[in-house]
Amino acid sequence: MHGPHTEPLLHGVMAEFRNPEELLEAIGAAKAAGFTKLDAYTPYPIEKVFDALDLHHSKLPLLVLGASIVGAVGVFGFAYWASAIDYPLNIGGRPLNSWPAFIPATFEGAIFHGGLAAALGMLLLNGLPRPHHPVFNVQRFVEHASKDGYFLVVESDDPKFDGPSVRRFLEGLAPVEVNEVEN
């Protein structure tokens, strides 16, 4: 945790571009210049940006698989326990562990937990809900990020980060505007 004295003044430096190609070029240039803590902000998901920033390692599928297995085992286990142990009910002499009859609820249990894990896991991995974030301090970001702006941020925890030179670097990429993102 950063205390109030150690918190860096800047979250990073942000450059705005007109279209995805310019953004992709800028990401390439920033990576070539040795920056590693980069994030891009685009009004819609762009596969090539994921490629450029190497964002294809989501942990979500494993989380969902785990939750689905827990859901299935949990519901089946409960149905077994309720029907065969806690409240055994003899129906037409059929076995107490009439497992085929437990399958529909088991299946729904898997989907229920998997689906919730997909949604909540996405929020968790993204650090949401988080109503405020430094990037919102940039006026053009608020106006254009969800419309037609393509933004690249070099974040201040990048080992090569130092405000003025990053600014000069980004200005060399012909952006619309470069802004320091204050914390």
């Binding site: 685009t42 979500l60 009859a101």
Partner: protein
């Protein structure tokens, strides 16, 4: 007479309009999931402009469907008794009963549909937050958007979540109507106990659902000037899905008749003849007219591109699918094994009133949705802009 006594239900027809309308509403919801999940997995990008609307329709249709089992309990303040909760009763629900499967299926379906819908809306809620002028609106959309900021790191997880939710919703939607059909097919009532029920119910659900999407979308399209988003191609495709699923349903009807005669069982054969010529023959033949004969017009391109014709055909299907459930349920229950047990069933004005109430609930929720929430998927529409197409150029 109090409680559900004011409905037309009797013994032997313990289920009437209530379950007819329940199945009808659930079926309508299924087209929404089909459009949002199955067409996503099949990479049918034409769905992008109608998927949000279709998902909303799913959520509201399931809400209407949910009213019926809760009201049918007779004590609508105790629906949690359906769930396996520890309580003073010291009992658990019977996991061998299709009715408890239904509770699990429908509650899972409702939950996952709401989650899918909400997750899909997150980026658009953020857009509304960024562009809202009024302070109240900015605050409300800001809270709802959970701080979404269009970061690529977020988008990557988001796209994965959408894909996973679509992957989970696809078997879910197939399971829900299969389980609804188990309510009938696990029973030994003539006309219910057949293996064709699950696929036949699922196809019927999609058939009815697409009819409802068209019923709603056709008037909204000129009203909200959406013709550039919901195009001729959408209407064509939806009509084709309706035609296809309609034919599967027709196959189901034929197979029901065949199975009855093939079984050689006198009760099954009687049930079929009773459908053809019995006291509810009018409903049966109307159902054949609405669900099999009228939709054949969709073979013609001229009909598929005529919005008025499409709307009228969709209304026929809405009515036909309601009649289908009525015929399946009431004809079989009112004439089962022992003639001394037979009784006629008629819905009362209260059955009609409850049904009208659910339609009112549905339309109210739908209009509130269109007024306050992003009814079109904005961020997926942005993918259709020229600069976005260039960025995606090599993939498509």
């Amino acid at each position: 007479m109090t409680g559900i006594g004011i409905w037309g239900n009797n013994i032997p027809v313990g289920w009437g309009w209530d379950i007819v309308c329940f199945v009808w509403w659930i079926g309508i919801g299924h087209a929404g999931t089909l459009i949002s999940a199955i067409l996503l997995l099949l990479r049918q990008s034409w769905r992008n402009s109608i998927n949000r609307f279709a998902e909303a329709m799913t959520v509201f249709a399931v809400a209407c469907a949910g009213m019926y089992p809760i009201l049918h309990l007779g004590r609508p303040w105790l629906p949690y008794w359906l769930l396996p909760l520890p309580g003073t009763l010291n009992m658990w629900p019977n996991f061998r009963s299709p009715l408890i499967w239904d509770v699990f299926a429908v509650s899972t379906y409702a939950t996952i549909s709401i989650v899918f819908w909400y997750v899909g809306m997150l980026p658009d809620l953020a857009t509304l937050r960024d562009h809202a002028k009024a302070k109240v609106a900015r605050f409300a959309y800001g809270m709802a958007a959970l701080g979404w900021r269009n970061s690529s790191r977020h988008w990557a997880n988001y796209e994965m979540a959408s894909l996973l939710l679509a992957g989970l919703s696809t078997p879910l939607v197939l399971s829900v109507h299969s389980i609804v059909s188990f309510d009938f097919s696990v029973g030994i009532v003539p006309g219910w106990h057949t293996t064709v029920f699950p696929p036949y119910f699922v196809a019927g659900a999609v058939f009815a659902g697409f009819a409802m999407v068209l019923t709603l979308v056709l008037p909204l399209r000129p009203l909200f000037k959406l013709k550039d988003f919901i195009t001729e191609r959408h209407l064509q495709n939806m009509a084709k899905v309706m035609l296809t699923t309609g034919l599967i349903v027709a196959y189901g009807y034929v197979l029901e008749i065949w199975a009855a005669f093939y079984s050689g069982n006198e009760f099954e054969i009687f049930m079929v003849l009773n459908r053809f010529t019995g006291p509810y023959a009018v409903q049966y033949w109307l159902l054949i007219l609405c669900n099999i004969l009228v939709p054949q017009l969709l073979w013609f391109r001229q009909v598929r591109s005529n919005v008025w014709a499409l709307w009228v055909i969709a209304m026929f299907i809405n009515v036909g699918m309601w009649l289908e459930r009525f015929v399946i349920i009431v004809v079989s229950l009112s004439r089962d094994y022992v003639p001394s047990n037979w009784a006629m069933y008629h819905g009362t004005k209260w059955d009609i009133a409850v049904f009208a109430g659910t339609i009112g609930l549905f339309l109210t929720l739908l209009l509130l949705f269109i007024r306050f929430l992003p009814a079109l998927n904005m961020f997926e529409m942005r993918v259709l802009t020229p600069e976005a197409k260039k960025a995606h150029g090599e993939e498509k």
